[in-house]
């Protein structure tokens, strides 16, 4: 692999890593189209490389966020169980349901979520009032104080994550893009904590697919390695940026990203990838 190709792939990884660490998505929505359109890879090969990149982003970002206490590990473990249930169901359902129709539905959900995130304020709890098992706090670097939040709608949130798991496994993308809005809008987790928790979760979600591709020898090691290195670097940069961006702005940027993802998914459903 020539140095230009290596450097460009690392840059792709960095871009995905920054986005992933900031917003709690895996970056696959960026990696797959770029690899298919600009590098001429088959979609399956791009997806395999993307999963490795997602794991790298997750590992890098969650190392920082877990250490800072922003990631809610207990919530992440709980929601990931329901997501895995959904993913199992999705693998089975994929043989019966049209992928294109599902992609369009998923895109519309993302557009709706993006619009809601722009207008919905966050429900914070004063850290002094934060007691009880569903109340958590984290230190916000921008506000320079502890931010408290009370998790609500746990059961319905878990059910929605099951649906998210079905959609994600059937469309191959969008785990974080749907789980962050669920946590933020429905379960009242602040956007930074939701994104950080999602970063913890997406590595686990990507693990199953990545390990299968790896075991079957379907991953291009050099491509995946370059994207992974970039993803890790990008995740470190993304975590630094997070400490300088306030939650309200982050929600707005996330909404724009959701609209972008919805557009890419519509293009995918239309057969452009």
């Amino acid at each position: 692999m020539g140095p230009e190709l290596l450097f460009s792939l690392i840059l792709v990884g960095v871009l995905a890593g920054v986005t992933g660490a900031l917003f709690g998505i895996g970056g696959g929505m960026l990696i797959v189209p770029i690899l298919v359109i600009f590098y001429g890879l088959a979609a399956k090969d791009a997806a395999a490389i993307s999963l490795v990149g997602i794991v790298a982003t997750s590992v890098g970002a969650s190392a920082v966020y877990v250490d800072k206490g922003i990631s809610n590990i207990r919530l992440g473990l709980f929601l990931e169980i329901t997501t895995v249930i959904g993913a199992i169901a999705g693998v089975v359902a994929a043989t019966y349901i049209s992928n294109a129709a599902l992609t369009v539905i998923f895109s519309l959900v993302l557009v709706y979520s993006g619009a809601k995130m722009i207008f919905n304020p966050e429900l914070a709890v004063e850290p002094g009032d934060c007691s009880g098992k569903r109340c958590f706090t984290y230190y916000d670097d921008v506000q320079k104080k502890d931010v408290g939040y009370q998790i609500r709608n746990t059961k319905s949130g878990a059910a929605m994550c099951t649906v998210a798991g079905v959609l994600a496994s059937m469309t191959g993308i969008g785990g974080g893009a749907i789980k962050v809005p669920i946590m933020n809008l429905h379960m009242h987790v602040p956007i930074k904590a939701a994104a950080a928790t999602s970063n913890y979760m997406i590595g686990i979600t990507a693990f199953a697919g990545a390990v299968l591709y790896f075991a079957m020898g379907d991953i291009s090691l050099t491509f995946a390695g370059a994207v992974a290195v970039g993803g890790f670097i990008g995740s470190m940069i993304g975590t630094k940026i997070t400490s300088h961006v306030d939650g309200k702005s982050l929600k707005r940027y996330f909404s724009v990203l959701l609209f972008f993802i919805a557009t890419v998914m519509m293009m995918d459903a239309g057969g452009l990838f």
Partner: protein, 69 residues
């Protein structure tokens, strides 16, 4: 290890390092869950340690089902 593998790849020697590095990377999230489980167990938070164990088991099942399909 991955970076080393990439650097050595241009000399035609990096494949083993790349293979090992990517393997370690891929299993890292589940190792993290296992560490979380051990930590929760040590804190005597058996409920959440059980949740972590259940997640590991279900991920193994999901991987197997994905392989079979």
């Amino acid at each position: 290890m991955i970076a080393l593998g990439l650097a050595m790849e241009s000399l035609g020697m990096g494949e083993t390092a790349l293979w090992l590095g990517i393997l370690v990377l891929i299993v890292s999230p589940m190792l993290g869950v296992a560490v979380s489980m051990a930590s929760l167990f040590r804190e005597r938070d058996l409920k959440w340690a059980g949740v972590a164990l259940l997640l590991i088991a279900m991920t193994a099942v999901a991987t197997l089902i994905s392989y079979l399909f």
